[in-house]
Assembly symmetry: C2
């Protein structure tokens, strides 16, 4: 199971514009309210604290077994925690719901004005759209695609280290996909830019919503033409080829020089799948 | 070959902030300038007309065999044509370059103001970023991921028709991926919302940059639990199961009731790959 996936909610996208239906759901005594403050989530005993909360702007998240779910931006307090720290503590389906809530509120907080004309815009579609009253432009929540790829050569894989990371932490390569390129082209470009390697084959593995603040991680394996990897010295300060046995030790926490990627990141799943030969 | 992929340019992303290097490239007498006006491209004899053009705001697109390429927004004129009409006329590598140029200018045209504070923002990184002088927010070109999937049940595939399309035109299902969902979850949701089908298995096939204005088309096959498809009546007005022979006739243009997707869309490639059994 990939962290931040597995939400049981039916998003009910076709009901978002039905204001009276949404109001009715919000008034449901069983409605759940995911409380968010500046990107942090209100929790209680390792679960989302979704006790009724009727004040504030609400985003309709969906319905599960007749229970409507909303996200609300609140005043904050001691019970609010960072989603990174909660990712492996919350039940997986709550982590996924929290991810959607966090991404949406962070998008609203950075998009209160119309990018086309500069006027304040209004929330619409129960939080899934903003509309400019001045120029009528419609703006939708942003999701930025990122390619994340494990380079493979022969029977080894490549991990890389950014200077800003904790000591010994290493992970696959990654970068934002740009306008005018396919997933495969973005993968080849980033593999070359960051590590000087030439991609010969790109294979899709899995994907993950990443709510920091709102990216789509597209997990790939990339076979490369040689093992002459050179870190770019800008984003990356070190690259290192690992055998399956070495990678296995990294995942087990027993490698003396390399710390595995965070367990809740798709980086960890890519490495695990390769070690278990699930990439073929 | 998938249309809008295959650009030969090295994007040189690490040089975008080097203003003096960029100026030097722009002054290169061999520099190529892709002229864009309101999303249309200047062409001549079925090729991009990239004659020297030094006025106006320029975006650095990259370098190919020592030749720098830029996109410039110009005053327009008779020689400008829609990219949809040019997609299969231009050499594939020029269609890909044009796609990047068009997506970037359309992003700039809709993002002249800072979405965080409403002030006019400035172009930076030779066209790959905007920076707000008031609040210092940085904004990057937007790419919206879209899932596009061909439902499969037994030995048949499903095509669908939107009411707004030309008569008889049919295509796979498609929809925008939302914050907080994986590619596989977005595919399952849209398949259910649009056609009432339950996804049992999602398989990635290929991707395509789609410059209308700037989406990433993620091409998938989705196996479904039954053939009880029902068009939602909102986005779709008709759905139809086709055998491989029928789909083959659609692609050949000989099916009396169904017109194939546009040849330059990944929708066409998905159907072709399935007919040729390249999806297994």
């Amino acid at each position: 199971v990939i962290t931040f996936t597995g939400s049981p909610l039916d998003r009910g996208a076709s009901r978002r514009d039905d204001a009276s239906w949404i109001e009715q759901q919000r008034a449901d005594p069983h409605a759940c309210f995911v409380a968010v403050h500046e990107g942090r989530l209100r929790v209680r005993d390792g679960r989302l604290d979704v006790a009724a909360e009727s004040q504030g702007e609400a985003i309709f998240l969906g319905v599960h077994q007749q229970t409507p779910w909303f996200a609300v931006e609140t005043g904050g307090g001691d019970a609010y925690e960072e989603l990174r720290g909660l990712a492996l503590i919350l039940p997986p389906e709550e982590a996924s719901i929290a991810a959607a809530a966090k991404s949406l509120f962070e998008w609203h907080s950075r998009h209160r004005y119309c990018s086309q004309c500069g006027q304040p815009s209004d929330v619409a579609a129960s939080g899934w759209k903003r509309v400019c009253p001045a120029c009528r432009a419609e703006h939708f929540p942003r999701v930025d695609p990122v390619v994340i790829m494990l380079p493979l050569f022969g029977d080894r894989c490549l991990l890389a280290r950014q200077a800003a990371w904790p000591a010994r932490r290493m992970a696959p390569l990654a970068g934002f996909l740009e306008p005018g390129e396919s997933i495969e082209e973005a993968c080849a470009r980033e593999t070359n830019e960051e590590a000087g390697l030439v991609a010969t084959r790109v294979t899709y593995h899995a994907s993950q919503p990443w709510p920091f603040p709102s990216t789509l991680m597209i997990g790939l394996f990339v076979e490369v033409a040689s093992d002459a990897a050179v870190p770019d010295g800008v984003e990356l300060e070190e690259v290192r080829w690992l055998t399956r046995d070495e990678a296995s030790a990294v995942l087990a926490g027993s490698h003396p020089e390399v710390l595995a990627p965070n367990r809740y990141a798709i980086a960890h799943e890519l490495l695990t799948a390769w070690v278990e030969r699930r990439n073929r």
